[in-house]
Amino acid sequence: MHDDNSQIVACIPRLRRYARALVGDRAEADDLVQDTLERAWSKFTLWRRTGDVRAWLFSIMHNLHIDQVRRPRLATEALGDEALEVSVRAEQGDALTVRDIDAALRLLPHEQREIVLLVALEQLTYDEVAKTLGIPVGTVMSRLSRGREKLRAVMEGRAMVSPLRVVK
């Protein structure tokens, strides 16, 4: 029991990293982590856990995120000037800046973004991603492929950048 508690706590920095990349906004990301942990603790004391703690936590976060994405939201947020530079390829050779990649990720549909991120950040195998998200591996592959291609297009300035206001 105690070991499992510390396993969950040990995953928090990874959950925060993933959440930050997934939702972009720092406060929203931390809210997502908070909700994930609360749900995890509440389920944890009531249900027997099966399988890997990390995969379980990422599944919970995924489900919570989906709930949030599906919830209709009217709030929009004005993008700062930096948004205009999304399509501009970084000046120094091929190096991509943090701001570029973060802005480009925002332009991916969330279902592609989460797969691109789980593979890059958590280095999950495609099977693990499929299990975590509860979708077939084939779907994982097609979303990964489309996500990466879209990211490439955005970074190369081939894709249309979103209008100035995005619905968050």
Partner: protein, 270 residues
């Protein structure tokens, strides 16, 4: 070289280092002959590197304050703390909600501890459990295979709609149910068992119409542990010879399913 066609999935698996050595070599050779593909895959690798670099710093950030780093103390039971107050005040019983169930003091409620007939509820339930649960041949009057009939019959006899909760999610399947005499009238008993054959009974009485609702209360009757509570017009008692923590999990689920407002004890802890 293998004759397997090279797919888009292979190319991604190559980028992600997920291919077996032989296949990796094949893809490498293929990519070497395709400058366009090589460039594309190189870009994907850069994306991965850029993503990792962009968010690497988050790993080292101090955790924001207020993150729950441990299970809440007395999870869920806090919700019942207010409800239990009347029982404590009326009988001075030392059932306190302190910490987790496992560490809470075990208090066998004496017959004088609570106003009758509530005090008799766990005792009656435990007796019924002891009498019927060891019965191998005929533990119930109507089996779960005739659940509709069981529900109709018990509902009719108790004069109010009654349905056995579904506990399959916790590993307990309904065996069936029977009608029993209570202190003043009919009482229903549902019986469940798990894969190991452990039996658990839910005793449902309508004899407590004057009482509103109470918290979960625990009693030990010999080797039988009983959780019982009142909810509107029903008195519920869950009995089994299983440990208190396990029984509490089941009690929470039963409560969730039978509570009229459908409140969920596992709900939002904010």
């Amino acid at each position: 070289m293998s004759k397997l066609p090279i797919t888009e999935a292979d190319l991604h698996a190559y980028v992600d280092g997920l291919l077996p050595e032989v296949r990796r070599a094949e893809i490498e050779a293929y990519v070497a002959s395709q400058p366009g593909e090589a460039e594309r895959l190189r870009t994907y690798r850069e994306q991965k590197d850029a993503i990792r670099a962009a968010y690497q710093g988050v790993l080292d950030e101090p955790l924001p304050r207020g993150l729950p780093l441990a299970p809440p103390r007395a999870p869920r039971w806090q919700r019942y703390a207010a409800l239990v107050a009347w029982a404590l005040m009326s009988g001075g019983v030392g059932w306190t909600l302190r910490g987790e169930m496992q560490s809470a003091p075990v208090v066998a409620l004496g017959p004088s501890a609570l106003p009758a007939p509530v005090a008799s509820l766990p005792h009656q339930a435990a007796v019924a459990h002891v009498v019927y649960s060891p019965d191998v041949r005929r533990p119930v009057e109507i089996g779960a295979d005739q659940e509709d009939q069981l529900v109709a019959w018990l509902s009719k006899r108790l004069g109010t709609p009654l349905k056995p909760p579904k506990l399959g999610g916790l590993g307990y399947e309904l065996i069936g149910g029977r009608l029993l005499p209570g202190a003043h009238g009919p009482v229903a008993q549902f019986m469940y068992h798990d894969v190991t054959g452990k039996r658990l009974t839910l005793y449902v009485s309508t004899e407590f119409v004057d009482n509103k609702e109470t918290a979960f209360q625990f009693a030990q009757e010999g080797l039988v542990n009983v959780f019982y509570w009142l909810d509107r017009n029903f008195g519920y008692a869950l009995s089994a010879g299983i440990d208190k923590g396990e029984l509490a999990r089941v009690a929470i689920e039963v409560y969730r399913q039978v509570s009229p407002e459908g409140s969920t004890p596992t709900g939002d802890s904010k």
